[in-house]
Symmetry: C2
Subunit: 337 residues, 2 copies
DNA sequence: ATGAAAGCGCTAACAG
DNA sequence: CTGTTAGCGCTTTCAT
């Protein structure tokens, strides 16, 4: 820890014998400074231990090179992949991600969005299309590109990169019914906190009813997001309470794996006795025995597409709001043969 | 998107009929503004759609309320837990995390640290104790509290919150040997990119040699961090090449689960035919069948402890650098009975 | 409890 | 290619 205050650009300029403006230019990429001057300045800066101060730059240039991102949880491989795709797409342009997590709570999201907007990001990417009225207003008035992801909101705020969670689950229901299985259950969270989880359950119910099937086999497994353990507990209840169930769709691969593990513990054969499907195409689903049927929502592509949109929007190459649908892929594997 | 530029504090002040300074005070918690004035100002601000501009505040007050954090990967439950513990501990004080990931590469870490320091964080938390010389110098000269985590560096830069990765693995070796198993293998990455993984392998080798045992059963499973799939492939090679192996220690629970799954596919009984252990106490290890023996390094506690240190340091309540050891817990479960 | 003046460290704008 | 001037929007400091 240095006790004295850190050197500024003016210090570097004085010692290098140039004006502060020239130092400023030397630190930019494509600015017009002679190679000799630039390298002399950079050496002086390094010697002094000078570190460029973004806070001053941010204020003067009214640019922060931040892209704000909200995700429900930092501990989720799907959202991590989206953030990864986003970060990679933005890195070359020097845009840095300012990440916050909402804990699946739109009130927390509202607080977070306000915090993030105070930092004056160049764009903001939010997960989901349901927000508090105040959060919505703040986003609308922010004056920066807004991208809602992982969903297809009825009334988008700005751009959308997503898919229908309900529609994806419908395809899984159709798959099971196509196999001749009609007594199908759904394992999910017990609250509407996780809006994507809620949409998936709603999609399940709608799909079953549309086919004239019983849509009442709903197992509430705990506060979303539900864990592997909660998936296992839900499966235990399902096997006890509704033993004639032929197939079960879980809100995520994690809960599906938990359900599968419970079957293994009880000697229930998958898929011979019961079929299982998950959601998200987490790595575990392709490694476990049997492998899990699931839905791949292409999380990384969602982030990559959002990054492209942001770059286009910042360059003014976008006329109006856009909607990018990323079509999920149905992956039928051994747990539902 | 608003075309006109957003309102400033001066705008709010003019309309509310007070000075900008009073508006500034109204937005702080414990400042002396009459309740009437404050609420009038806040209402005016809300009406105008005013959003506080941190960039200006940051520059003038020389405070950003950022805590910079570097982790190897955003997609790792252990590091996510550390960040979660950190974020929770800092939230009440209004400190926000500025997160960056290094992709297990200390050169990338150097670039990242420079980027982060430019943002003038109040403190910085890095994962690991190995850095490039330049990164080390930047951290030393940063003038802010530096905390190295997940490791016990020989020459700490500032504070340390960690544990001995090698030591933790030694305890697992001792456990196996105590069970009478002596032909023990180690599955890890094939490069020194992941320094904690490298330390674990080194700990394995040292522990085996100290007991006079053969430490040459090292399976290199790919570029770190190794996945479930790579763990499975490594186990396939192990079973083929060194079939008399009695136990295997994997660099993480994820690769351990992959190894376990490969045994299931091949009808190799765990632990009857071979024992397996992981590292990290990921949820999967407590749910899979059989459950995985592992080591819990208390990732969340590491983050929480780092948060406490930061708060103490920022309040000047810390005299010198500290070292906080978080002792990992050996969890013996069904995969190694 | 409130206000006036000054300035944080950089860069836009203009000049040469 | 380089320099000068002014100012980004807040908050520190000092008054009252």
């Amino acid at each position: 820890m240095t006790p004295r205050k850190p050197p500024t650009m003016a210090d570097v300029a004085r010692i290098a014998g140039v004006s502060p403006m020239t130092v400023s230019r030397a630190f930019k990429r494509d600015s017009s400074v002679s190679e000799a001057t630039r390298s002399a300045i950079l050496r002086t800066a390094e010697d002094l231990g000078y570190v460029f101060d973004s806070t001053a730059s941010n204020l003067r240039s009214q640019k922060t090179d931040f892209v704000a991102v909200t995700i429900p949880s930092i501990n989720n491989a799907n959202f991590a992949d989206t953030v990864g795709g986003l970060a990679d797409g933005l890195k070359d342009r020097g845009l840095q991600i300012l990440l916050g997590y909402t804990n699946y709570d739109i009130l927390e999201e509202e607080r977070l969005i306000e915090q993030l907007l105070r930092r004056r990001p160049e764009a903001i990417v939010v997960t989901g299309g349901r927000h508090t009225p105040r959060a919505r207003r703040m986003l609308e008035n922010s004056g920066i590109p807004v991208i809602e992801t992982w969903d297809l909101p009825d009334k988008p705020i700005g751009h959308v990169v997503g898919f229908s969670n309900a529609g994806a689950v419908r395809r899984m229901v159709d798959h099971f019914v196509g196999q001749g299985l009609t007594r199908i259950a759904f394992i999910g969270g017990d609250a509407d906190r996780d809006t994507r989880g809620t949409d998936r359950r709603a999609g399940f119910i709608a799909a079953m009813q549309a086919l004239g099937l019983d849509a009442s086999r709903l197992i509430a497994a705990g506060v979303p997001p539900i864990s592997m353990r909660e998936g296992a507990e839900a499966m235990a209840r399902l096997l006890r309470d509704v033993p004639d169930t032929q197939a079960v769709i879980c809100v995520s691969d994690l809960s599906a794996f938990g359900a599968l593990s419970e079957c293994q513990r009880r000697g229930v054969a998958v898929p011979a006795d019961i079929s299982i499907a998950g959601f998200g195409d987490y790595e575990i689903g392709s490694v476990c025995v049997p492998t899990l049927s699931t839905i791949n929502p292409f999380p990384r592509d969602i982030g990559a597409r959002a990054a492209t949109l942001i770059l286009e929007a910042l360059e003014g190459r976008l006329s109006g709001p856009t909607i990018s649908q990323i079509t999920p892929e149905l992956l039928i594997r051994d747990s539902s043969k």
